[in-house]
């Protein structure tokens, strides 16, 4: 008895200490990454520039201005309705924190709030993972789970300081919603369910991945029904959740009426109807005799099934249904590759190799199936939920690398359960059954204890390896902002290539405020954010034909491209060229995607086969196809490059990225002139000469002669 209370008390203390310890520990890990790069705390990748710009707009102009914001500096000349095409949760959260802090007279700049938002929320994620796992298993497992999710690379990749993106707050919302759902199924109280709905509302405002929640929870209820685990708690929880959650989710302008129209949300509605029918039948069962009930039951079920079936057929036939996301996730994803090249060209949408699993999850990926085994062997209502979560998440993570993020929380939870079950029995004294003490019990005890000790030591070593791995991965792979490139010289010193920021700053200082810049869509948000100029296409990629037009301009010869640029009022063209330093993410390497996207819309003018040699190779040297050697992108990339000799061993005009000497060295422009090339030739900006000036110059020449 004494022993029990003691350990209970000790546990209580440990809980508090550990709770602060890992919110602190992951904060330390994440801040480490901040200290790694320069104090010019920069927002790392492209998309974040847009998020930051919107938040800035929100804090300067107020909430309603933000909701109604029409951005005419993006997607020139179309503009973009930001309020209706973005998930506002992230901006509103940052704006709210900024407002509250400033109200308390702690003057914090909005940029600092944005940069540090993700680590703060990942601390909150650790706490909600603890709560969720505690509901599922016990407190020890909860602590381990929170520990794991604090340092696991799969989650850190999206929540470093400076990563101001939806996923940073969305995973917190996801875990918290799941915790409240599990709590409401366990208790059957409306209070917890309403809490779950509010958390779900926050999730809907934060990320498009809310579709996962609205499909997983109905699946959970459905499986519970199949397993004959129906109870009043489930009925109360789900009915309340569905209705209130539905109404709340439709308050977000971007979501609008989708929850009652698209097929992704229909599962939830179907399960709702089914649950009502089932509950009604249970109610009748208590009041009718067995015979009457059986006939009624069969009649009712067949009628209901028939009605649902006919409704689905009718709605699909009349086109009220639309399949949007599902077709990309259910195999074959070949559909996207053939029909929508933009989707296929994003590297994050590729399937996952086992190396990615291991890289992001290390030992957790080997041990979480054991946790799943334990869960299923000791099944109850909430463990059904986590089993379904694991199975669906692992399927989606296998299909798309980006969805590894949704797998990470459940992997942390299940491996925590596995490790906790093992540690429970091997750590400390075993006060359980065992054989009655024998004569040489002390000898037995020693052996047993040493055996336990060895097992515990080995397990701890494995976990230490995990921690070391996470630190290494975070510092090497997920730390550097992609705006600033770093390369290492022979002597190990670091060479910083700051070309991007140099070029954007040049644009900002040396061009007219209303100048329009044409570039490929990858750089749209960065140009809009850092150079503050109007762009034609950006990372939102909502308008495929506009992007195809830009692609067509890049792939055509100079005169055809000039016509397109005139029609779009382009003043400057910006390209990325990596041939001097060997940077492989430049525009010539992306060029084929530009051609494919352009060909999709203008098949008569652009043909992908024209850019290949007769043997089917893509070459930039003399053997390359003449269409390629004369297109605008080629000319802009290699202008004056033919005179440049990088190394005495290679001829002038040797492209380091393609490892070839370029074919067309004598490049002259008729309608463009070079405006700026950055230090390592990474970013090149060209000015479009407008018709007036060329006419004037020829007139002047005539006048002089």
């Amino acid at each position: 008895m004494d022993g029990l209370t003691d350990s209970g008390h000790g546990h209580f203390n440990t809980k508090h200490k550990w709770r602060t310890e890992f919110s602190g520990c992951n904060y330390v890990v994440k801040n480490d990454t901040v200290a790694n790069h320069m104090r010019v705390v920069s927002l790392s990748s492209f998309l974040l520039r847009f998020n930051y710009r919107s938040t800035h707009h929100l804090t300067s102009n107020g909430f309603y201005e933000f909701l109604n914001w029409f951005d005419e500096r993006a997607w020139y000349p179309l503009g973009r309705i930001v309020g209706g095409t973005v998930y506002p949760g992230l901006m509103v959260t940052a704006g709210l924190i900024h407002y509250v802090l400033n109200l308390l007279h702690m003057t914090v700049h909005i940029r600092d709030v944005c940069v540090f938002l993700a680590p703060i929320f990942s601390g909150l994620t650790a706490i909600s993972t603890f709560l969720l796992t505690r509901e599922l298993w016990n407190q020890g497992a909860g602590l381990l789970a929170a520990c794991f999710i604090a340092i696991v690379p799969g989650y850190i990749s999206r929540s470093v300081a400076g990563s101001f993106d939806n996923e940073g707050i969305a995973i917190f919302a996801l875990q918290f919603t799941y915790y409240l759902w599990v709590k409401s199924v366990k208790t059957g109280s409306v209070f917890w369910t309403i809490g779950c709905c509010l958390s779900y509302f926050y999730m809907v405002s934060a990320w498009g991945g809310y579709v996962f929640i609205i499909n997983l929870i109905p699946l959970h209820v459905f499986v519970l029904l199949l397993m004959q685990r129906y109870s009043r708690r489930v009925y109360i929880a789900y009915s309340t959740f569905y209705i209130v959650g539905l109404v709340l989710s439709m308050q977000i302008p971007f979501v609008g009426f989708q929850p009652i129209r698209t097929s992704e949300h229909m599962a939830a509605a179907g399960v709702f109807a089914l649950l009502q029918a089932y509950a009604f039948l249970q109610y009748l069962k208590d009041r009718l005799t067995k015979q009457e009930f059986q006939t009624l039951f069969f009649l009712g079920v067949s009628l209901a099934a028939g009605v649902v079936f006919l409704t689905v057929i009718y709605l699909t036939y009349t086109g009220k249904f639309s399949l949007s996301l599902m077709r990309y996730l259910c195999p074959p994803p070949r559909y996207a590759k053939i029909h929508i090249p933009i989707i296929a060209s994003v590297s994050e949408h590729q399937p996952t190799t086992w190396v990615s699993f291991f890289f992001d999850l290390h030992i957790l990926v080997c041990t979480f199936p054991a946790g799943l085994w334990f869960c299923i062997k000791n099944i109850n209502d909430e463990r059904v939920f986590v089993a379904l979560y694991a199975i669906s998440a692992v399927y989606f993570a296998g299909v798309m690398v980006r969805l590894m993020l949704t797998l990470t929380p459940v992997v942390c939870m299940l491996s925590a359960i596995a490790f906790s079950s093992v540690f429970e029995h091997y750590l400390g004294d075993d006060q359980k059954k065992d054989s009655p003490p024998t004569e040489d019990s002390s000898d037995e005890d020693d052996k047993r204890n040493s055996g336990n000790l060895i097992v515990t030591m080995l397990m701890l070593m494995l976990l230490m390896m995990f921690a070391v791995h996470c630190t290494w991965v975070t510092s090497n792979a997920y730390s550097s902002p992609s705006v600033v490139l770093a390369s290492y010289n022979h002597d190990g010193s670091r060479n910083i290539l700051d070309d991007f920021r140099e070029a954007y700053y040049w644009l900002r200082q040396n061009t007219d405020e209303h100048a329009r810049v044409m570039s490929w869509w990858d750089y749209g948000y960065q140009i809009a954010g850092m150079a503050n100029r109007t762009t034609l296409v950006d990372n939102n990629t909502w308008n495929n034909s506009h992007i195809a037009l830009v692609g067509k301009a890049m792939s055509s010869n100079e005169s055809a491209a000039y016509q397109i640029m005139q029609s779009l009022d382009v003043d400057y063209v910006l390209i990325i060229f990596g041939g001097v330093i060997g940077y492989s993410g430049d525009d010539i390497n992306k060029f084929l995607w530009m051609v494919r996207i352009a060909e999709g819309e203008h098949p008569k003018d652009i043909r992908e086969s024209d850019y290949f040699t007769p043997q089917g190779e893509f070459r930039v040297d003399k053997a390359g196809s003449p269409t390629l050697l004369n297109c605008l992108m080629y000319k802009m990339s290699y202008y004056r490059f033919g005179e440049m000799q990088l190394d005495f061993r290679t001829p002038p005009g040797f492209d380091r990225t393609r490892n070839a000497e370029i074919g067309n060295k004598d490049i002259k422009f008729k309608h463009l002139e070079e405006a700026f090339t950055s230090e390592h030739w990474l970013v090149r900006i060209y000015k479009v000469k407008n018709e007036g000036s060329s006419r004037t110059s020829s007139f002047l020449r005539k006048a002089r002669s």
Binding site: P351, V394, S609
Partner: protein, 299 residues
Amino acid sequence: MLLPLGQMMDWASKRSVIRMNGEKFRRFVKAPPRNYSVVVMFTALQPQRQCGVCKQADEEYQILANSWRYSSAFTNKIFFASVDFDEGSDIFHMLNMNSAPTFMHFPSKGKPKRADTYELQVRGFAAEQISRWIADRTDINVRVIRPPNYAGPLMLGFLLAVVGSLVYLRRNNLEFLYNKNAWAFAALCFVLIMTSGQMWNHIRGPPYAHKNPNTGQVSYIHGSSQAQFVAETHIVLLFNSAVTFGMVLLHEAATSDMDIGKRKIMCIAGIGLVVLFFSWLLSIFRAKYHGYPYSFLMN
């Protein structure tokens, strides 16, 4: 005697791909004037020619021609024909053609140009690609409609019927559905299969292993971290399941009521499995991810 156009239409109404011999070819395709263009597939379908590609290309060509024949935009401006080597070898000589299959477009006016020969090596013989080439050459868009494949739904229906009847027959003894071990095992199998990268294999179709042509050495593990072999995924699957099994054994050793000796063995086996296979996995990971500095027990 019917005019050439009428004769062609008559044949086209009987079969979508008109089979021609040398005589027909000279009269209807080569001889001017014509107010229709013809797409001709030169092939060698006889078994003794052993041209596997010809058969596959022939199927695609049939789909293309059928789509055209039954489409709403059908006109008599274009016809699809085929010439087999054994029936029209003189045509092959005349056109200096020595490979099959070849697709050529004979426009209604003028001689066929270089672009009127379809680049099979570059573009492949999928019906959609041939249709795009035709659209390039003639401005006629043939919308390729593949006949719906009923094999899938039929199999599914059959499977459901079999399962339904089995369940019905055993309806008094459905205890096997409540067997937790079975469900847990099935879930575990699925999860292990997914985390070893089988979806990547399904989508990208990599080879089983790679045999170095110079040294003859077979490597089961791909050198870079961007790709993987099928053999490699099986190895990883095995290792993952070994580690999982080890953890389960550890737990069983501590909680089951067998005698102490057996439990000790289970415990040792469990921890041994976990440590050994995890180190192995780590070493494979190191081999693929160059620059990874950590290892455990083995290199």
